[in-house]
Amino acid sequence: MINKISSSAFLHFLTLLLFKQKGKHIGAFLISVMIIFLLSSVLFISSSLQNSLLSTLENQADFTVSRVQAGRAVNTPIKWIDKILEIDGVSNVSPRVYGRYFFTPRGKSFLVVGIDFFDEQNSKTLKSLVETIDLKSFLSTDNMIVGRGVKSFLSEHYYRDYFSFKTPKGSFKKVKIYQTLSSKSDLIANDMIIMPIDLAREIFALAEDEVTDISFNVPNDAEWDNIITKLHLLFYDVRVIEKREVKKAYENLYNYKGGVFLILYLIAIVTFILILYQRYSMTYSTDRKEIGILRAIGWSIKDILKLKFFENLIIVVISFVFGVTLAYIYVFILQAPLLSQIFLGGANLSNSVVFTPLLDYGVLVSIFLFYAIPFLSAVLIPAWKIAVIPPKEAML
């Protein structure tokens, strides 16, 4: 079978033609690779980020409530926890203390998160996250665990072992850097500082009866709407955020950025297809002469269309494979330098996220079809138009 294919006269002529006229195809090949590379890179980044974020959402609380004043979120009274606990069907009610600490001299900010390490579940998770941690020594003095972005920023500013936080009361709080989080956590924790909840409260000057917000679970999701009504009846100045809303936001998070690139892709592909169409339709083009000669020596219209179809299909497939492979290497091996900043920003600490490889086959097939069909039509339609006219006229 393979022998039969390799000795086929048609295939021999086809491949010979392809390499004899490589100068003609190289332009189309390079432009195709570039377009497919850019579009695939963007789609790889957005789908990888989306997938990672959605997987982390599984561990999130179903609801988060915070107090609002004049339309803005303010500190939430801790006594709300008791009231929430009175609602039937509610579990795992926990306060959250977090906020952004602004480092004025450089105009950068960190996300400080206070954790209750005396909670058994939290201490267990921390041990799985930082294997070498000794909780006793960690809690004995003021210590913190920092993300990689924070660590490199602080090191650059000579805070190698500790950092002095300036509290709103005007005093300084010296906190030792206990450990740095793994690079694999950069997607969430690059600018994060994890510390005991009381220390975070001190740094933000939160009163003892205040927290940033309160999160809780409602295991029966049929009760979710009912719980929201109950919360609004309990508190008049409350803002309730549901996990399903956050999930929806994450699903749409990078759609608009992907959409912008899709529009650019459409513009680029339409322009490229027009150029291709134009090239084949030109009155004095070499393709016209070539088709004319083939017709003159007895090739049928069907044979010519078959030749042109396979000739361009090879270019389409090869440029698609090159474009997608380059995009894969750029995103998942080189971690998308420059392009990742469009998705994660570059105004604060620099973030070098490790993208988790994810190939969405549906997206790849769509890219191929959106690229292959216009490409092949832009070549086959003019080729057919030339093939149907008498060879003498075509060669003129």
Binding site: S6, S8, T15, L16, S52, L53, S55, T56, E58, N59, Q60, A61, S94, R100, G107, S109, L111, V113, I115, T125, L126, S128, L129, G147, K184, S185, L187, I188, A189, N190, D191, M192, I194, D213, E245, V246, K248, A249, Y250, L253, N255, Y256, V317, I318, V321, F322, T325, Y328, F332, L344, G345, A347, N348, S350, N351, V353, V354, P357, L358, L359
Partner: protein
């Protein structure tokens, strides 16, 4: 088929094989486990967006406020897309 074509096809197959091997052997579980641990302990799953101080860092929970014009909506406000 000519020799150059075989070389080209081998290159394409090598590229496909390279991507397949990298994709199948990459340890996705450990990356996701670490991210899940961080989100479990902090209760925060928002991406670490490198944004200026007055732009939202934690999606949904932060609000964008320009310190110079606190009453002005941020330019990235997109409730119509997020379907809040």
């Amino acid at each position: 088929m000519i020799r150059e074509f075989y070389i080209l096809v081998s290159m394409v197959l090598f590229l496909v094989g390279f991507v397949a091997v990298h994709y199948l052997t990459h340890n996705n579980i450990s990356s996701n486990e670490i991210l899940c641990s961080v989100s479990k302990i902090t209760n925060i799953s928002s991406p670490s967006l490198s944004v200026t101080f007055y732009e939202p860092r934690i999606l949904f929970f932060d609000e964008a406020v320009n310190p110079a014009y606190p009453q002005m909506d941020a330019i990235d406000k997109m409730d119509f897309i997020y379907d809040k």
